[in-house]
């Protein structure tokens, strides 16, 4: 037990770096997912092709191999990355490709009547996307995004293999230093587990809030429910994002 107590502060530092890589990767992946997803539903054939190529290529490649390639191969032709940057870019590109399919699928799953209604209301395509399509699509994106976030968290562990001292790497170091593999690895595994459960809980809350803002779930508290007077101003789509 004392081994764990000694190593705990170091493991926590590793955990913080793990969380930073996860956050960086998630932001990059979210941006790429929306770009790829919107391009994948665009009318232009070129945009759709670009999106298709990106999604297929990065879904087909292994995150670890990608990371090694960024870290070991690209510097030789003049692109040098910080190890952490290489990890974030590799994970972001990989998870972003999966997210792109999620975004595309969510947008395509909006009933055609919604499109017809916006045309009847003479909305511009941008306004339609912003006020009608995306708020509803966002709700169906959230559950798969939650799964991808957990996959991303788990994938950050491979950054240990390009010598980034995140949680897994620190765990390896501590095992080498103390020889106590069981308590160290058990602690590391539980740290990942707790973070994953917190993330899952957070995503559930976000899903519920989004469902409420679309009027698909009961409001949280009586006081916050908009008065009847607010019905006219398209209140359903508000509060998303």
């Amino acid at each position: 037990m004392s081994v764990v107590l000694q190593s705990f502060p170091l493991l926590l530092q590793g955990l913080i770096l793990t969380l930073e890589i996860t956050a960086g990767g998630a932001v990059l992946a979210l941006v790429l997912a929306f770009l790829a997803g919107l391009a994948g539903t665009a009318r232009s054939r070129i945009l759709r092709a670009v999106s298709r190529v990106y999604v297929e290529f990065f879904r087909g490649s292994s995150a670890l191999v990608l990371m090694f390639w960024f870290f070991f191969a690209l510097p030789l032709i003049g692109f040098r990355f910080e190890a952490v940057a290489a990890a974030i870019i590799a994970l972001g590109l990989n998870v972003g490709a999966y997210g792109g399919e999620v975004v595309r699928g969510a947008i395509l799953s909006i009933p055609p009547a919604q499109y017809e209604a916006t045309i009847a209301l003479n909305m511009s395509p941008a306004l339609r996307m912003r006020r009608v399509i995306l708020p509803q699509a966002w709700a169906s994106m959230l559950p798969p995004f939650g799964n991808l976030l957990i996959e991303l968290l788990k994938a950050t562990a491979v950054a240990a293999l390009i010598t980034i001292n995140e949680l897994t790497f620190v765990g390896q170091q501590q095992r080498a230093a103390t020889g106590e593999s069981l308590p160290i690895y058990t602690t590391v595994l539980f740290m990942y587990f707790v973070v994953a459960q917190v993330l899952i809980f957070g995503m559930r809350r976000l899903e519920l809030r989004t469902a409420r803002s679309l009027g698909r779930a009961p409001a949280a508290r009586r006081g916050r429910r908009p008065a009847l007077a607010g019905v006219g101003d398209g209140g359903g789509s508000g509060g998303v994002g």
């Binding site: 879904r59 990608l66 070991f72 593999s181 690895y185 058990t186 990942y192 459960q197």
Partner: protein, 216 residues
């Protein structure tokens, strides 16, 4: 630094040896995942709350922690309990166990999709639980989930480079060794990346086709 085709050709045999290790680890691991996943799916349907609850949380734990750390655990911790495994065996068990947590969910979905009337008919015919499962429910549930299971074969293939972390010389490990010997990482790493894409994209297109054709 320029791309050197001669060098690329020279290292090809070693990388292909690595590919053989990668593919065999994936296939053996997949076999474990497919068999163990079904057993877990059946255990989770157990009437005993303690059994189904425990299995559920163990699977949740496996699914929300990194495969790499699980591999380290199997490879470095088990020997202190007297279980010494070769790196390859440890890797294959780790891969299989990790993905069994996923395949069990696939089986579960398949089992839940079997209409209730089938169960009722089995009860009406007073079939034994064994015959209900193996004669009625699973023959309907399993074929529908085969394409979804195929997706995990590809996912495992892409995760197999992690075995490099526990010293298995698979394809990525071979590329790394070559790079470390010659200080030329560009060719081996690029070839490995391309080989992964070349294998997994056609495979995923095939399984997506099968899913549309035979799923649901």
């Amino acid at each position: 630094m320029q791309w050197d085709w001669n060098y690329a050709a020279d290292i090809m045999p070693r990388l292909l040896d690595g590919l053989v290790v990668t593919v065999s680890a994936t296939l053996v691991g997949y076999l474990i995942a497919v068999v163990l996943g079904l057993a877990i799916a059946l255990l989770r349907r157990s009437d005993n709350r303690a059994v189904s609850g425990t299995v559920r949380w163990i699977m949740e734990f496996i699914r929300s922690t990194p495969l790499l750390v699980q591999l380290f655990f199997i490879f470095f911790v088990l020997p202190s309990f007297g279980v010494v495994l070769s790196a390859f065996t440890a890797g294959v068990i780790g891969l299989g166990l990790h993905y069994a947590a996923y395949t069990s969910e696939v089986y579960r979905a398949g089992i839940e999709a079997v209409p209730k009337g089938q169960w009722e008919a089995a009860t009406a015919l007073s079939l034994s639980p064994g015959r209900t499962w193996f004669g009625v429910v699973l023959p309907q549930a399993v074929p529908k989930v085969i394409p979804a299971l195929g997706n995990y074969l590809i996912a495992m293939f892409k995760d197999s480079p992690m075995l490099f972390g526990i010293t298995v010389v698979e394809m990525l490990g071979a590329a790394y060794q070559i790079g470390a010997e010659t200080f030329r990482y560009l060719e081996p790493m690029t070839i490995v990346g391309v080989l992964f894409v070349v294998v997994s994209i056609p495979a995923s297109i095939l399984f997506r086709y099968l899913e549309r054709r035979y799923g649901h």
